[in-house]
Symmetry: C2
Subunit: 352 residues, 2 copies
DNA sequence: TTACGCGATGCAATCGATTACATATTGCCT
DNA sequence: AGGCAATATGTAATCGATTGCATCGCGTAA
């Protein structure tokens, strides 16, 4: 019961010294240089030598010490993904795409969860400067003072995804939020809605702004009212969707377009609380098509973004940056599409 | 347009050599040892020296090279969190707890997303052996051949959370799945249900087994039928909940207890598809109380686990292991509670 | 046979921070 | 004044893998 932490084995941290490359070299009767080469590129050594080394490695259960390798090569093969809220399913899907490409390239993806806290954002930004990561993937729009003009942040290559700041040199993968929002509004207008409300995300974020612009222009193109009383600024959280309802319903909308699915669900809760049904009394269209959108009651009409693809593409771009290759395009805009389910329907009393 | 990757600054990767501690030492007119000490523990140097060093550091925008430090100290201050599916909100909440404690201790938490793929599991396990991480946090139950007996995995300290394998030396934080499942069944029995079905998780996972046992014993304690036709093995995914319904409803249950919330939602979809309402026709109780459970329609009755706390506790335990401290307890079992919402109600025709 | 070339291997420097040990400086006590 | 302790700093070894350069040996062509 006293020794509570460790088992001992050839490469353990607990007991005797771990096996090093020098040990393998000694056992195999060659130099460390040969061991290193044999491990990195088996083709450059004799079959005989390779065999001796392989056996020694297996016998001693040797693992390379990444710490030493990293120092020598001055790289970590790690990328840092800065995200505002990992619990948000929107981000976790993107992350899967990121992680996959990273893996394919022998990289590891680390998550830096900022909770939109500037202090933590700064801490993570520093991580890269301190060489704990080779590059950065920013899924977080509020890049505080970082907004330099080029795709390197204090010397650290980075790629932005979804959220962005302007700058021609910035590497960026995003979706056509503006067009998608117009699409959503057009869908509601087509159904016959004339008073369409909007629950926006925080307006200091580029995606919220873009979606808002799409909303306005969508309204204009359909020749509908653009009433300031029909706009509410939420925070992308479920509760803010609910909180929006009492105020918003004063303006008598028959449909609501929300800037993400969580707020859509919140809004539906708020409507339920007022005894209003979706879509019978009010239609709701969300944004993101998160994992639960289709399984919601009613299944959510929403804008689907190619999340996985965003993650993959952004990471591939970063890999290019890191390898010093020329980039084909620095900015990629992916298409979203409207997924029509059951939360949207024609208004109860046919809107003129 | 040609130079597409780098800006140059004092510590950049792009241009000239980055600033090292030796540079700072030269500028400040002291030795690297003094710089190192001044940075690690300002109290041990003269105010004067400290000032010179601070100025040099600020002027040159120096950042410590973590790679070198790691090698010398033979640690990474990184823990690897192995999880089966990061997109699952259950895990992302735990991760927030983990990340927070890690941060408090100057550690970084890396996610290893296995997708229950043995190959990836092995890859991540190796990461630790290769010293890319100081310790492991296993949120994944299917620990393949790893099931050694002690809290070190090939020499790497680890703590398990939620899922577990047996062994007195294993460090573990989990919840009382068995009791909680009994609680859920008791709740349904109290409402008057006599035929209660169960959608289980994969039965090779300890939590699924525990919840299943709780279900059986809960049934027994309430003196209810325990009909094999009322049991379905799902995979924790939404779709498997839906898929369970046609089969399960053959047994005419009036209530369903599911082993997680996703399957509960899936089940509700399946019931809807058959024209059945929840809770009017069938009651549903889930497990986990994920972020969207309360905002679902109907709001889900479910078992709430202290996710954040699980993450914190497990990480604190790991920190103890890493610092070589004695552990107070190696196993902690946290309490879950039943959150009663609207997806459960008395059966339509009073069950006699 | 000599020389050249190439493939395989070894030697030793290197990456940059940390730290044990040595040295130097100051002050204090008797 | 002499000696000891405490404090501040410097010197140099160290962590372990990688890699430029040197070397060795063997085969082949002139």
């Amino acid at each position: 019961m006293a020794d509570n932490t460790q088992v001992k084995n050839a490469n353990g941290r607990g007991g005797d010294k771990p096996t090093t490359m020098a040990d393998i070299a000694r056992i195999a009767g060659v130099s460390t240089a040969t061991v290193s080469r044999a491990l990195a590129n088996p083709a450059v050594v004799t079959a005989e030598t390779r065999e001796k080394i392989d056996r020694a490695v297996a016998d001693a259960d040797y693992r390379v010490n990444t710490l030493a390798r990293n120092l020598r090569k001055m790289e970590t093969r790690t990328i840092l993904v800065i995200v505002p809220d990992i619990a948000n399913p929107f981000f976790s899907d993107i992350f899967r795409g990121i992680e996959e490409v990273a893996h394919e390239n022998g990289f590891v993806a680390v998550i830096g969860n900022t909770e939109v806290d500037p202090e933590r954002e700064a801490a993570y930004a520093n991580m890269a400067r301190e060489r704990r990561a080779d590059g950065l993937l920013l899924l977080d729009g509020k890049l505080p003072a970082w907004a330099s003009g080029a795709s390197a942040l204090g010397g650290v290559p980075f790629v932005m995804a979804c959220e962005y700041v302007d700058g021609p040199d910035i590497c960026l993968v995003r979706t056509d939020n503006y067009d998608a929002a117009k699409l959503a509004v057009a869908h509601l207008a087509e159904l016959g809605h004339r008073r369409i409300a909007h629950i926006a995300g925080p307006l200091d974020r580029s995606i919220s702004q873009d979606r808002m612009r799409g909303y306005h222009d969508g309204l204009a193109e359909a020749g509908l009212d653009d009433d300031p009383a029909l706009i509410f600024e939420g925070d992308f959280g479920l509760d803010s969707g609910t909180a929006a309802i009492p105020t918003l319903m004063l303006g008598k909308p028959t449909a609501i377009f929300t800037s993400n699915d969580e707020m859509a669900m919140g809004a539906i809760q708020g409507l339920r609380a007022m005894g209003l049904g979706v879509p019978e009394d009010v239609s709701v269209v969300g944004f993101d098509d998160i994992r639960f959108a289709g399984a919601y009651n009613p299944p959510l009409t929403t804008v689907a973004q190619p999340r996985y693809e965003i993650g993959r593409l952004a990471t591939e771009m970063l890999m290019q940056l890191l390898s010093g290759h020329e980039l084909g395009q620095r900015q990629r805009v992916l298409n979203s599409s409207l997924v029509i389910r059951e939360s949207s329907a024609p208004p109860a009393k046919a809107g003129g």
